[in-house]
C-alpha cells in the first residue's frame, strides 16, 4: 500500500492539495476538535474527582472523527460509531449537556442511565446508533442500515468506525464481507490508534496494514494520516461519494495515536514506551490544524483562543447542568425491554418500586470500574 495520505504536516504546512472547503466549514471542524478536547478533559476531571465513574480519552484521535463527520450528510446519513468518536458528535453540534447527561447517566440521558458513560445514542441531530460495548458488533449493523436505505431508493449511506483492535472481531469479518458482496453503501473507517488497551498492532495482526484487509473482501481501501483532519476529510469524501453513487463500500485506515490511557481506569505508562508517546504527542492533530488555519488566515491567535475559551465554558456549564439532574426513576429498569411490558415484568416492577420506596436503608453506591 502507498504512504498515508497527508495534506498538512505536523507543523501545519500544506504538503498536499487542500480540499475546497469554505472558511465556516474549516472553523466548524476546528471548533469540533477543540470542543472534543475540552469535553474530554472535563470528563477526566469529573472522573478523577469521583463525579463520574468512567470515560474514554479521545485526546489525539479527534481529527479522525471530525474529518470523517465533515464528509457526511448528517441530515440523512447514518453513524454506527466507535466509542472513541466524540468529535463526530461535536461536529454535528450535539449539545455538550446531552453528552454529559450520558456521562452522569441521569434522567435526561437518552440511554436512560442504563449504559456506561460514553455509550451515546442519538436520533437527533444525527442518526448515531446506540454504542455497544462488545467490539465490532456495529459493523454488520451499519451494512444492514445502509442496505435498507438503498432498498428504499434513498441515497443515504452509513459510516461505521472502529479501532484497530476491532478488526480482529467477527463483526469486522462479516460486515466487510457482506458489504463487498452486496455492494453496500457503507464506509468503514478504522481508527488505528496503535493500541487495543495494552496490545499493540504487532499482537493484533501480521498484515502489512489494516487497510490491506480490504483485499480479503474486494473492498477498496486507503490509508490516511489520521492526525490530519483534511486528509481524513478528503479520503472520507471520496468514499462517501462512491457509496452514494452506488459504487460500493470503502475501507479507510486512519493512523493516529491514543495519547491517553485506554480509559480512565488504565495506566498506559505500564506498557506504552515513553519515546513512542513523545513522538506521537509531537504529531497530534490540534496544534497542526491550528497552525495551518492561522497560516491560511482563517483564524488568528485570538479567534482560536476564543474558541478554546468558549469550549471550556460550554463544558463546565454542560457538566454542571447534567450533574444537577436526578437519576432515572426506578421504573426505568423495567421499561424498553420490549415495546409492550409483559406481565412478569409488570410484577417485578411493582415489587421493586414497593420494596425500595418502603425502606430507608442506604443503598451502597460504590464500585470501581477497572477498564
Amino acid at each position: 500500500m502507498s504512504d498515508p495520505l497527508q495534506i498538512i504536516d505536523v507543523e501545519g504546512n500544506l504538503t498536499g492539495t487542500a480540499p475546497e472547503l469554505d472558511n465556516s466549514t474549516l472553523i466548524q471542524m476546528y471548533t469540533a476538535i477543540v470542543r472534543t478536547r475540552a469535553f474530554d478533559s472535563r470528563c477526566m476531571n469529573l472522573q478523577r474527582t469521583g463525579k463520574i465513574g468512567f470515560s474514554v480519552p479521545n485526546r489525539g484521535v479527534e481529527a479522525t472523527s471530525v474529518g470523517a463527520a465533515a464528509a457526511m450528510d448528517a441530515s440523512k446519513d447514518w453513524f454506527a460509531p466507535h466509542y472513541r468518536d466524540f468529535g463526530m458528535l461535536f461536529y454535528n453540534d450535539v449539545p455538550a449537556e446531552a453528552m454529559f447527561d450520558n456521562m452522569f447517566g441521569n434522567s435526561d440521558d437518552t440511554a436512560v442511565g442504563r449504559q456506561m458513560p460514553v455509550h451515546f445514542s442519538f436520533t437527533e441531530p444525527l442518526k448515531w446508533l446506540s454504542i455497544s460495548s462488545p467490539r465490532g458488533t456495529q459493523i454488520p449493523q451499519a451494512v444492514g442500515v445502509s442496505l435498507a436505505a438503498r432498498k428504499r431508493g434513498e441515497d443515504a449511506i452509513a459510516l461505521t468506525t472502529f479501532g484497530d483492535g476491532s478488526t480482529s472481531t467477527l463483526g469486522f469479518h462479516s460486515g466487510m464481507n457482506f458489504a463487498g458482496v452486496m455492494k453496500a453503501p457503507t464506509v468503514f473507517l478504522c481508527q488505528n490508534n496503535q493500541w487495543a488497551i495494552s496490545c499493540p498492532s504487532s499482537s493484533q495482526t501480521a498484515s502489512e496494514s489494516y487497510a490491506i484487509k480490504g483485499e480479503a473482501y474486494g473492498v477498496p481501501s486507503c490509508i490516511v494520516d489520521g492526525n490530519d483532519v483534511l486528509a481524513v476529510y478528503v479520503a472520507m469524501k471520496e468514499a462517501v461519494d462512491r457509496a452514494r453513487a452506488g459504487d460500493g463500500p470503502t475501507l479507510i485506515e486512519a493512523i493516529t495515536f491514543r495519547l491517553g490511557g485506554h480509559s480512565t481506569s488504565d495506566d498506559p505508562t505500564k506498557y506504552v514506551p515513553a519515546e513512542e508517546l513523545e513522538k506521537a504527542e509531537s504529531e497530534e492533530p490540534l496544534k497542526r490544524f491550528r497552525a495551518y488555519l492561522i497560516n491560511e488566515g482563517v483564524l488568528t491567535d485570538e479567534s482560536a483562543d476564543k474558541i478554546r475559551e468558549e469550549a471550556d465554558a460550554e463544558m463546565l456549564a454542560g457538566a454542571r447542568a447534567a450533574e444537577a439532574k436526578a437519576r432515572p426513576v426506578l421504573g426505568t429498569i423495567f421499561t424498553d425491554v420490549w415495546q409492550e411490558q409483559p406481565a412478569h415484568l409488570k410484577q417485578q416492577m411493582e415489587y421493586c418500586i414497593k420494596h425500595y420506596s418502603e425502606r430507608d436503608e442506604a443503598v451502597d453506591e460504590n464500585g470501581e470500574f477497572p477498564l
Partner: protein, 325 residues
C-alpha cells in the same frame, strides 16, 4: 383454505406477509433460488425478486448483524438460520445486540426482526442438526421465543412474529415439517404471541409442552385415557416468551398434578422454569412431584436418537407416576 404441511404453511405465511408489506425481506444461506434446505422459502426469490429474498455468505453473525441493521432502518427482515445448531456464531449479535437495542437506546432504536430456524430431532441429524436451544434464548431478556406445533399456528404465529416490534426467535420443529396436513386459511391472519393452546381438555393432570412434543404428549394423554380413564390436559405453550403464566398456573390449580415435557436437555432447560414457577406460586395446589420429561443431559446422538428423544411412552410413564403419587 387448503390443506398444508407445516413447512408449506411457513412458506405461505412468508408469501402472504411479503405481499402485504414491502418492508419484509428474507435473507439467509440458500434461501434464494434453492428455496432453503427444507424448502420453506421456495419460490420467494422468483416471486418477489432478489432484492426481497436473497442468499448471504456463510456467516450467521453477518445474517443477524445485517438483519439488525435492516430492522433499525425501517425493514422487517426475516433471517433464516439453516439449522438452529448453527445459530451460535450469531449468539453475540442476538443476545448482546438484538435483545438489548431498545433498552440501551431508551427506545430510540428497535429491532423488528424475526429469526426463523428449524430445531429439534427426528431426522438423524446427530449432534449438530437436532438441537433444541430455546432455553438459551428464553433466558435472554429482550427476545421473544415462539414455537408452533401445527400448520395453522405456524402461519399465524409467523405473521404475528414478523409484525411484532421486537426481535422474535421463531423455532420450527423440523420433525413436524411434513408430519401432517391441516386446513390453513389463505391470506393474512395472526395468532397472538402470548397465549397457550389447550390441545386436550382434562382435570386430572396437566402436561406442558411445545413444538414436536405436542403430538407426543397428545398420544400419551390418549393412552392414559385408555389405560386409566383419566383426563389429561395437554397445553401447547406456543410462545415461550412472553409466557401466559396465568393460564399455566390456573391449569396447575385445576389439575393438581403437572408434567413438563421438552426435547432439549433437562438440566437448566425451559421446563425448569415452568416447574420453578409452579413451586414458587401454586405449591399449595400441587399434589404430586412436578415431573419433567426431557432430552437426556448429553449431546444429541445419531444412531440412537430415538432412544434419546422423549416419546409417548416416556411421557406416559411420567403421567402415571404423577397420577399414582
Amino acid at each position: 383454505m387448503s390443506e398444508l404441511t407445516m413447512v408449506q404453511a411457513v412458506n405461505d405465511g412468508l408469501r402472504t406477509i411479503m405481499t402485504e408489506d414491502e418492508s419484509v425481506l428474507v435473507l439467509g444461506e440458500d434461501v434464494g433460488p434453492k428455496g432453503g434446505v427444507f424448502l420453506a422459502t421456495e419460490n420467494l426469490t422468483a416471486e418477489f425478486g432478489e432484492e426481497r429474498c436473497f442468499d448471504t455468505p456463510l456467516s450467521e453473525d453477518g445474517i443477524i448483524g445485517v438483519g439488525i441493521g435492516l430492522a433499525m432502518n425501517g425493514m422487517k427482515p426475516v433471517c433464516e438460520i439453516q439449522f438452529q445448531d448453527f445459530i451460535f456464531p450469531a449468539f453475540d449479535q442476538i443476545v448482546s445486540e438484538a435483545a438489548k437495542m431498545r433498552y440501551r437506546s431508551g427506545g430510540q432504536y428497535t429491532v423488528p426482526m424475526t429469526i426463523r430456524t428449524p430445531y429439534g430431532g427426528g431426522i438423524r441429524g446427530g449432534l449438530y442438526h437436532s438441537q433444541s436451544g430455546e432455553a438459551y434464548f428464553a433466558h435472554t431478556a429482550g427476545l421473544k421465543v415462539v414455537i408452533p406445533s401445527t400448520p395453522y399456528d405456524a402461519k399465524g404465529l409467523l405473521i404475528a412474529s414478523i409484525q411484532d416490534p421486537d426481535p422474535v426467535l421463531f423455532m420450527e420443529p423440523k420433525a413436524l415439517y411434513r408430519a401432517f396436513r391441516e386446513e390453513v386459511p389463505e391470506g393474512m391472519y395472526t395468532v397472538d404471541l402470548s397465549t397457550v393452546r389447550e390441545v386436550t381438555q382434562g382435570g386430572d393432570c396437566v402436561v406442558f409442552c411445545y413444538g414436536a412434543m405436542v403430538p407426543v404428549c397428545t398420544e400419551a394423554a390418549k393412552r392414559v385415557k385408555e389405560s386409566r380413564n383419566k383426563d389429561v390436559r395437554v397445553i401447547d405453550l406456543r410462545t415461550l416468551m412472553p409466557l401466559d403464566e396465568e393460564s399455566i398456573l390456573q391449569a396447575v390449580k385445576d389439575c393438581g398434578r403437572a408434567v413438563v415435557v421438552h426435547e432439549a436437555p433437562r438440566f437448566c432447560g425451559y421446563g425448569a422454569e415452568i416447574s420453578a414457577m409452579i413451586a414458587e406460586n401454586v405449591i399449595e395446589y400441587v399434589e404430586a412431584p412436578v415431573k419433567r420429561v426431557a432430552g437426556f443431559d448429553t449431546p444429541f446422538p445419531n444412531t440412537l436418537e430415538n432412544y434419546y428423544m422423549p416419546d409417548a411412552r416416556r411421557v406416559l410413564d411420567a403421567i402415571e407416576e404423577v397420577l399414582d403419587f
